[in-house]
């Protein structure tokens, strides 16, 4: 595989992409020109405005096809690669037993006003996700699942009470960056409530997180779309029991 690639429409290197967007302008030739201009700024050249549909008196929706000249440098791609071994439940249990000689305590919740529990449940509940059992299945892990719409103070109090080793937080609603605000509030609260060395491991997850933002958000790890329980368990074992 070459390390420099371009988008592929119909032939190697053609650079073809599709875009769509709305501009807050009434439909006209000028509006189509404006769409063309935006496409050009995005790097499409040539850019074909193939569809323009007036939506009421003030907006126009566009579909544009065209060639971008940007190169994608595969070597420069930064991925949060798994930097820990993927373990079986058995291995995770063994590692915890060996290094902690007690059960690992995991506290989970959807914080803020978010009530989407399916994601965190997929990680925590026995039932699990994508054929993998959830953390409740692990003999050496004690799971406390606080459910939906948990406030940050409640979460911190419970973490103290349970002496949680790790706190797992889910955020699905992202409108107006709700997930980022809530995560920052949470990490700040834990920062205040615990001395640095005693703070539980903070893990957040949800389908629209950028996994590279952990540092910025003050948490130890972010898990995105399609995470499986085994990945999370392995990460916990790696960070807390090795």
């Amino acid at each position: 595989m070459s390390t420099l690639v371009r988008p592929y429409g119909d032939t190697t290197g053609d650079g073809m992409v599709q875009i769509s967007f709305t501009l807050p302008v009434p439909h006209s030739k000028r509006a189509e020109g404006a769409a063309q201009q935006l496409a050009a700024k995005m790097g499409l050249d040539p850019a074909l405005v193939v569809h323009a549909r007036p939506m009421g008196p003030d907006f126009t929706f566009f579909v544009v096809y065209g060639r971008v000249h940007h190169l994608v440098d595969l070597d420069a791609v930064e991925v949060i690669e798994r930097d820990y071994p993927l373990l079986t439940p058995k291995e995770v249990n063994a590692a915890i037993k060996r290094s902690l000689s007690r059960r690992l305590v995991v506290l989970g919740a959807c914080i803020g006003t978010d009530a989407h529990t399916v994601g965190i449940d997929a990680i925590l509940n026995i039932k699990g996700f994508a054929g993998e059992k959830g953390l409740e299945y692990y003999r050496e892990i004690k799971v406390v699942n606080m459910g939906a719409q948990v406030s940050v103070p409640q979460l911190v109090d419970r973490a103290v009470a349970e002496q949680a080793d790790a706190v797992l937080v889910s955020q699905v609603v992202t409108q107006r960056d709700a997930h980022l605000l809530n995560t920052r509030e949470m990490s700040a609260a834990f920062g205040e409530a615990f001395p640095a060395e005693k703070r539980p491991l903070l893990v957040v997850g949800g389908p629209r997180f950028d996994e590279a933002m952990a540092g910025e958000l003050g948490v130890d790890r972010i898990f995105g779309r399609g995470t499986t329980p085994g990945e999370v368990a392995s990460f916990l074992a790696h960070r807390l029991a090795s």
Partner: protein
């Protein structure tokens, strides 16, 4: 309309009588209790509005003061109108202000004094209910003037910017493009607030706060649109949550046309205490019945957590329960927007025909109800093209099975709250399907022993089994056991329990009294 499935009328009757059997104890429970929100709704019907400088509504302030002095169990009417009669304040707002400043003490009147107090409260609350009646007449007049939605299903679109002033132009644009019903999605978390926020709001997350002022602004905007478009455009919001009764009252006062109101949604999806929910639900539905509001129930939600094939009968069961509770509260058939959804995994073989079977079953079980048909959400992905196609087939089921209210699916379901262009594209989709293929209903005749009819009978059979179990063990226990949407909700837990009280012997509520009279 009916008859494509050839359902056995005896079985259908049996299902209904089981639902009655399961629901009746709950109605009794509702009769025996009141809640903070029922009482606040009563105050609101009497004209109390506004909030203190921290945003706490006067209704909450006043009720809390009353409760502190005499408890909740007698209802708010006796102590409040007693205080007014004593001349503690010239009106409710002033009373609330004084009460929250601690300068009034509440008492329970007795004997003839109590009689006069009851009458006074009834007069004042009655005025609010007459206002609701006027709103209902107004709606009827406007529908006559502008015309109604041009056809069934009604096309139902959501706006959800979080900012009422962004919502308004989006809603008007949606109406222009063919929406018959506009729903303003509520901010996440509002359903757990034990008060109704005040004023016009611009800071919701993934939805806009339900407030009386937001209701008013949006209804006025849609009245303009109705005029512009020559058809009455309906407005919907959400009742379910900790403030169901109050929101129902405000919706009636501001002429909303539909309300999300489910007998169990709050319990299952917001962990609200079951008793609180059932009491609030009954009162709120009585208000809706009076206001001529169509309710939308929430069975679709079950299928976002449970499997749509395995759990199909829980939807039917819940529909039958919702129907029973609704009718008991005075709602008529045309007001029952019973919910269900296109949520079968599209990878399941024959998924489309299974959807047809479920949708047709609902249609034939509730032939006069304007069923609310919800689009795919759970199996939508970031593949917006695939999503657009699924929505088209969802629309087709809606047309082929004569659904009454079609919630328009968005191709970006798995990505963002809907964009302006998503709505426009979605409406194009609906229009194409209804215009091009709507008539297919005529050509659609499931074979008596084919997949569709067999599946419908199977779901009905499972429904009866489940209703038998529920009628036996009691609905509260069934809910505690995780029967619906896989959620376990015991009757003695959940949010808002502290806002419930068993009525005292002298309990009086003028609103309930008037609403029960009908």
């Amino acid at each position: 309309m009916t008859g494509k499935l050839d359902l056995d009328p005896v079985t259908v009757r049996k299902a209904r009588s089981l639902a009655r059997k399961a629901g009746r104890p709950i109605v009794k429970l509702a009769h025996q209790h009141t809640t903070v929100s029922v009482e606040r709704a009563t105050l609101r019907l009497a004209g109390l509005s506004g909030a203190d400088s921290e945003g706490t509504p006067w209704a909450n302030r006043l009720l809390d003061a009353v409760r502190a002095d005499v408890g909740l169990e007698h209802g708010v009417a006796l102590p409040v109108w007693d205080a007014l009669a004593r001349g503690e304040a010239e009106d409710l707002v002033t009373l609330a202000q004084k009460a929250s400043a601690g300068s009034v003490r509440f008492d329970l009147p007795e004997g003839t004094r109590a009689k006069r107090v009851r009458a006074a409260s009834r007069r004042q609350v009655g005025a609010g209910i007459r206002q609701i009646d006027r709103r209902r007449t107004e709606r009827e007049r406007l529908i006559k003037r502008h015309g109604d939605a041009p056809r069934a299903p009604w096309i139902y679109l959501i706006v959800a910017t979080g900012d009422i002033y962004e919502d308004i132009p989006q809603a008007q644009q949606a109406a222009r493009e063919g929406a018959d019903v506009i729903a303003v999605i509520r901010s996440t978390g509002q359903s757990l607030l034990d008060f109704v926020p005040e004023g016009a709001t611009r800071e919701g997350f993934a939805g806009t706060y339900a407030t009386q002022e937001n209701f008013r602004l949006m209804r006025a905007a849609l009245d303009e649109s109705s005029k512009e478009l020559g058809r009455y455009v309906r407005l919907t919001n959400y009742a379910s949550g900790l403030c169901m009764p109050e929101i129902a009252a405000l919706a009636g006062l501001e002429r909303l046309d539909m309300m999300l109101n489910d007998s169990m949604y709050g319990i299952l999806f917001r962990d609200i205490n079951p008793v609180r929910t059932f009491v609030d639900q009954r009162f709120s539905r009585q208000v809706h019945a009076r206001a001529g509001i169509i309710i939308n129930t929430g069975e679709d939600n079950y299928l976002t957590t449970a499997d749509a094939v395995e759990a199909a009968h829980t939807v039917t069961t819940s529909q039958l329960l919702n129907e029973y509770f609704a009718k008991e509260a005075g709602l008529e058939d045309w007001q029952l927007g019973l919910g269900h959804a296109f949520e079968i995994d599209p990878a399941v073989p024959e998924s489309f025909r299974l959807e047809l079977a479920h949708a047709l079953l609902a249609r034939e079980l509730f032939p006069k109800a304007p069923l609310k048909w919800m689009p795919p959400t759970r199996h939508m992905t970031g593949d917006v093209f695939r999503g657009y196609l699924l929505d088209g087939f969802f629309n087709l089921v809606g047309a082929m099975t004569g659904q009454g209210i079609l919630l328009v699916g968005m191709m970006t379901e798995a990505v963002v709250t809907p964009w302006l262009s998503d709505r426009d594209l979605a409406l194009q989709n609906v229009r194409y399907v209804l215009d091009a293929a709507g008539g297919l209903r005529e050509d659609f005749h499931p074979a008596p022993d084919g997949l569709i009819a067999t599946r419908a009978r199977q779901v009905l059979g499972e429904t009866i089994d489940l209703l038998e179990r529920i009628a036996d063990e009691g609905l509260l226990d069934a809910i505690a056991d995780g029967t619906f949407g896989l959620m376990r909700r015991p009757a003695d837990a959940g949010k808002g329990l502290e806002g419930v009280a068993r009525k005292a012997a002298d309990y009086y509520n003028p609103a309930s009294e008037i609403l029960e009279e009908k």
